[in-house]
Subunit: 385 residues, 4 copies
Amino acid sequence: MERKLRMGMVGGGRDAFIGGVHRMAAGLDGLIELVCGAFSADPEKSRLSGEDLFLDPERCYGTYAEMFAAELGLPAGERMDFVSIVTPNFLHAPIATAALDAGFPVMCDKPMTLDLAEARALAAKVESTGLLFGLTHNYTGYPLVKEARHRVASGELGAIRKVVVEYPQGWLAQAIEKDGQKQADWRTDPARAGASCCMGDIGTHAENLVEYITGTAISELCADLTTFVPGRTLDDDGNVLIRLGSGAHGVLYASQVSIDEENDLRIRVYGEKGGLEWHQEEPNTLLMKWPDRPRQVLRTSGPTLSDTAALHTRLPAGHPEGFIEAFANLYRNFALCLDCRLHGGEPEPHYSDFPTVWDGVRGMAFIEAVVASSQSDQKWTPVAS
Amino acid sequence: MERKLRMGMVGGGRDAFIGGVHRMAAGLDGLIELVCGAFSADPEKSRLSGEDLFLDPERCYGTYAEMFAAELGLPAGERMDFVSIVTPNFLHAPIATAALDAGFPVMCDKPMTLDLAEARALAAKVESTGLLFGLTHNYTGYPLVKEARHRVASGELGAIRKVVVEYPQGWLAQAIEKDGQKQADWRTDPARAGASCCMGDIGTHAENLVEYITGTAISELCADLTTFVPGRTLDDDGNVLIRLGSGAHGVLYASQVSIDEENDLRIRVYGEKGGLEWHQEEPNTLLMKWPDRPRQVLRTSGPTLSDTAALHTRLPAGHPEGFIEAFANLYRNFALCLDCRLHGGEPEPHYSDFPTVWDGVRGMAFIEAVVASSQSDQKWTPVAS
Amino acid sequence: MERKLRMGMVGGGRDAFIGGVHRMAAGLDGLIELVCGAFSADPEKSRLSGEDLFLDPERCYGTYAEMFAAELGLPAGERMDFVSIVTPNFLHAPIATAALDAGFPVMCDKPMTLDLAEARALAAKVESTGLLFGLTHNYTGYPLVKEARHRVASGELGAIRKVVVEYPQGWLAQAIEKDGQKQADWRTDPARAGASCCMGDIGTHAENLVEYITGTAISELCADLTTFVPGRTLDDDGNVLIRLGSGAHGVLYASQVSIDEENDLRIRVYGEKGGLEWHQEEPNTLLMKWPDRPRQVLRTSGPTLSDTAALHTRLPAGHPEGFIEAFANLYRNFALCLDCRLHGGEPEPHYSDFPTVWDGVRGMAFIEAVVASSQSDQKWTPVAS
Amino acid sequence: MERKLRMGMVGGGRDAFIGGVHRMAAGLDGLIELVCGAFSADPEKSRLSGEDLFLDPERCYGTYAEMFAAELGLPAGERMDFVSIVTPNFLHAPIATAALDAGFPVMCDKPMTLDLAEARALAAKVESTGLLFGLTHNYTGYPLVKEARHRVASGELGAIRKVVVEYPQGWLAQAIEKDGQKQADWRTDPARAGASCCMGDIGTHAENLVEYITGTAISELCADLTTFVPGRTLDDDGNVLIRLGSGAHGVLYASQVSIDEENDLRIRVYGEKGGLEWHQEEPNTLLMKWPDRPRQVLRTSGPTLSDTAALHTRLPAGHPEGFIEAFANLYRNFALCLDCRLHGGEPEPHYSDFPTVWDGVRGMAFIEAVVASSQSDQKWTPVAS
């Protein structure tokens, strides 16, 4: 790359959570600089948020439409190169569509849209514009998740038989949305979150992780979603039996009422010849399991890792890399690919690996299937492909 | 107690596995002595097995029928006081029935019978004879499992919302029954094991643990059982959605093809006010989870445990107690209760706590329900109560 | 063996701690039966203790001298075969000497004597009588400790460079001996415990573990012992730099004032080619460390263990074996060796492995050296060999 | 702050390790931007390194002297605000001195200088210039290390009795410096590293962590340093008995030959009323230990943490923060304090907390003491204060 890529942001103003993560992740490797934003639906708040970030006040916009128009008016050497969308779910599709229509590549938070139809329309838009689109299913950015995917793909574990993926959290065990907790407020509101709270917010991460590591889609499922906290409309817990196209069977569960669980995404995969286990809260360890020799403890930056793990690692072993670094791997790869698009060249194949609009479509199909299944008396519900 | 209780054993000859565990467990506290046995269907092997155990050759019998008859002929001060049954599943009911008919109390391995009808008949027999009957669902013998039950019962966690119980093993990931592995051989044979391999052998332990700790029965379930290893008739893996009578939802899974998992029974229970987690492979730790204060690490013999945990512990904290000690707690309690039956007195209430014939009935109802559910297109199958 | 070996016990009456452990350990494998005892200096308490254990009242003696005399008077087929000594330290030497003089083999608790001179005299007595003598440095009874020793001996780790052994406990962080806690009372009393409390009671276990696993003696050391709790005479904490005869350097520390540490004996050994780590509170795991391949998690009963580990294991992997089972391995081996002495035959070599009077001499030399070093201004103090 | 602070860097060119960490850490919060550098003693390499970082080629200097002169010539609104020094040890003092003389505040890597005399001279220079000086003892940047310090300071643990700090690494177990490994090359060279390799590079981190958490200086020590790998001059392993001014005793060890240990800094502190434990490789957990209630597991962003921990945390609980985030806390605090110096205002007290030149003096006094002690026959060596 010859210069940093210029990023504009929609959402992520004062009081937001994930916007700051996107900014730290985007900036970590010095490849991307934030140049403008429409940080809030409230223009004054947008301006103040931009001030906090030392942005040119001229480029702190009141609305995303205004931003797209104004940036298009800037010379090519100044104009933003892509948009990062970090709003609540219901705004993803309209903003992303407008950005693509304006010719801006997009990095978008997840779940991608409000429903599957919207997701498919967005995918069609991405295809028709030919622009780059990334989705922040950030857990696939961890080096050892990439290692896990590599080990399955290599055939080292044999045909996969069983998958167990768990994602318990406890922060919604009480009705904190009633006390004005902003993150809880929109996630429990169907109009802004979509058809599911728990399965949409974190179940899709679990689904994405299973499909990323195994390289196989969930083909059918049987779900039991529950709303435990009185007054809620959407699910805050769900248990799902899953079957993968490859013939593997498994369990996927997610919960927001599992008290004192923080962000405990965990996956175990077992094949005919071996197994593996990874845990997001201790992300620098990957266990490898064998029938006839001792369990191995793979470590980020440790010996015998694949190139892909190494290329997504910044520090020597024992220097813990965490959530932000994994998130940054998505932005880094997106940036390297975008730079090739803009200035020519072919990205190193390992750097082409980040979630796309098709992961977003899968996620929305999953949400639709679990919600339908949970309301059905029929045992198995197919997941649209 | 004034003297040791005299135990006879059926099964558990040379090459058996669980018989030796029963003997170590029964003997650990010095309350029970083995005095006779019908250790094998092969009379010579039975005799040799008794010789290994320094038994009087006169009391090493060729068949259980012979043993019951001969022991009845001995004077009251010599005759065995109860029978321990450690054969493969299909022999449990006939032997236990014969023992009860002969007037001998019974300690029986699990699963209790071949099917639910047999289990109910055995329960009726126990009721009609009024004799003591114990079942070795041994995991409930751990002090911290008793603590977990106590904490739920005390209301400390509030109403239970979610239960996750997992029991992966890997030892049947290949068809070792074809190589003459004796433990695998009968467990994969419907004639000797019953309608299920994985769910019968270990799924019932998971079911028993859930019901013991929560104090609530699984009321309905949705199961996906699989036979992964070619050539097998019975399941070697199963995933189950469960609902408890109390309104809690959960997941139960068991597996014998999860490579390199040893005996990884693990349970997490979450209520409205707190949660807990226990793991059989590190049985001396119980995690307590709270919404507003740090996680607590309870330890066997540690501070703030209940009386019931303390009364099932033999060593100071940090001196690991394991599988045999937990198993021995069942025999210890059974012995203390039996002694009261035989010689008068009331057992200390904490010592009345061991699995009974009704736990066996529950287990067989669970097996019958998971097998039926797995073959059904209907989502929920009730568990007979 | 043709019959159980008959054990007599000195000490271990009501209220004692370690006597019960010895009895459970001795009885676990069905090779030893307790037939008599002098359980307390108080004859009535001795009698009541024997009654608790269902012993013949005739064989519950008021003193050990009485016991040795009376048992010698019994016919060979009835008389006890050996003595187990479980009293406070200061009584070990006189009782063991008397037992050996009376012709009885001895299993003795540790530390072996009050001081090094006494230890050497006892060793001379063992040598001159030619009788079997075992010492319960029980931590070497764990299967994975034996595996660790085997791995070092095999050369797999290369020449050993560094050893770190830690033994923190917290139970003496307050002056509980003033409240009549019996275990604390004698351990903090020089007349009954010897020259050291912390280093005598648990530091010697650490020393023994280092020397057992590395196969090398500590040759010199530099100690800083402290008495933290006011009113005590003896150390309740100590830090020691150690050097081994082989050229390895290391750290050994023990503490009884490390609050909330239970019995946290832990050892790490590093050689030129690899390392290992073992932790008593999770005794069924042994970590193997390599420069160029992933860490391995060895497990009791897991794949690739040596014969010696397998021969000291009773259960399949994942069925936790603990403190009592490890302790029982010492008694089992002692019994098998004693049986060969009594009835001819050669013990299986792996079964000859239990701590002897020479381990006791090493332990007393270690205590003497750490106490001398702690009082010295000189950096290094040799350990007598 | 009204605008980002402008940072210049000395060292950290292509192939360097720690320079990249400093850049990621400095940039993480968007408060600091890199504007210039003298990245290498080789001017061409310096230029290329700057190009990699998208810097203005005019501000990629061939030497630090050139950089200081040129930057002084720039207008106040463009000129760099401070210098980050990330060279090998022997260059720290001359560069820092020159920077301070030129009026630039300094952020410097550790150990601070080549020896204690140089450290004292640098401290005097800092005092005389009155300029801000930070030292990257980065492990004190972790939120739970700050929590640990807070807990000790609050008196919750009572008077501290015992400290155990361990820092094993394995990367120098072979003579990789002979194969041109650049990091190993200068660290094993007395001319560039100073009087110690292992104790200088990582032992000082352990010393700093002890003194930071306990708030007390190590007053005397007894060290056994070893050079295990043939051909080396400096120590690659060391064991140290320590005594703190407050009366606490302890153990400090560091090693670079502990095979397969990554960066395993770990500390345990025990007081009269409680204890704590923290481990750098799992930095989001802090264990609290009590005599009479269960161990508590504190977690980054979890309940009941102090303000200081919260103010050094960026993400919700369960979203792992790692090495870079902790390192960034030093830069963030340094930047906020520097901004107040430059533009007025008082920093929030929690943000004044970063290691200073006096931590560097302590570190050099520690190195001098351990090296002297290791060569001495005298037991205790005082640490200069």
